[in-house]
């Protein structure tokens, strides 16, 4: 299990290879890459600054990852989240989950993203034509996280 918060870019191919290349039990890696867009809610975005709460961020991500490991039979996982200045087309976050089969890899990857979006202390400030703009939390992210409270995931 690897949890990192960093200003530097990361190498997606290398991060994912590290999850399966030396473990022949891994049959599935589901991953999610979040990327800075050039537009949000109608605003043109030149870039963004990602602020976080050092210490608490790592704790929160570790707790989320540990909960995923407990809910599903996973073999390994990696979460890398960038902070600092980011430009459009630059990756922000990678969540990659390794398991024997795809069902649990997909479910855990989505679970971690939903919890990260609502429980990990990161804040985005977008640089628009009109200046800096703090991104507002979205109700749809709360709804996405809430669906994991009832353990209905197994029905899909």
């Amino acid at each position: 299990m690897k949890i990192r918060v960093q200003t530097e870019p990361f190498d997606l191919g290398a991060e994912i290879a590290a999850l399966y290349a030396r473990n022949p039990k891994v049959g599935a890696v589901a991953s999610f890459l979040g990327i800075t867009r050039d537009e949000n809610e109608g605003y043109a975005i030149r870039g963004m600054r990602l602020e976080h709460y050092p210490g608490m961020t790592e704790r929160a991500l570790t707790r989320i990852a540990a909960e995923a490991m407990q809910r599903w039979p996973l073999l390994d996982l990696t979460v890398v989240h960038r902070v600092g200045e980011l430009k459009p087309t630059e990756p922000i976050v990678l969540v990659a989950v390794a398991a024997a089969h795809r069902g649990e890899a997909f479910a855990a990857c989505e679970f971690i993203m939903d919890y990260l979006k609502t429980r990990a202390p990161f804040w985005k400030k977008e640089l628009t034509e009109a200046g800096g703009r703090w991104v507002e939390a979205r109700a749809s992210d709360d709804a996405a996280a809430a669906r994991w409270d009832a353990s209905e995931w197994g029905e899909r």
Binding site: L50, G55, L116, A120, P121, F122, W123, W134, E136
Partner: protein, 85 residues
């Protein structure tokens, strides 16, 4: 009682402070009481921490509730709902 209070993101900018270590009266023993004490500073404090405003509180880097108890030396953080990922 002395606490360390941290402010993040939009709240840090609006309040104009990123960290402080105020001396608090003994009756400020919960998160709720601390918010009331900060709100009583008036001005931007009363506005940003008004009832119904969306902000979160963590105590010692764990998400806290209004009745979470506070002790001397605790690290308390106030911040907007998170928007990472």
């Amino acid at each position: 009682m002395k606490l360390r209070i941290l402010y993040f993101a939009r709240l840090r900018e609006a309040l104009g402070v990123s960290a402080e270590e105020p001396e608090l009266p003994a009756q400020v023993a919960t998160v709720d009481a601390l918010i009331g004490w900060l709100r009583a500073r008036g001005g931007v404090w009363a506005v940003e921490l008004a009832e119904g405003r969306a902000f979160r509180v963590a105590v010692n880097q764990e998400m806290a509730a209004p009745d979470t108890p506070l002790a001397a030396g605790d690290e308390v953080a106030l911040f907007p709902p998170v928007t990472g990922g």
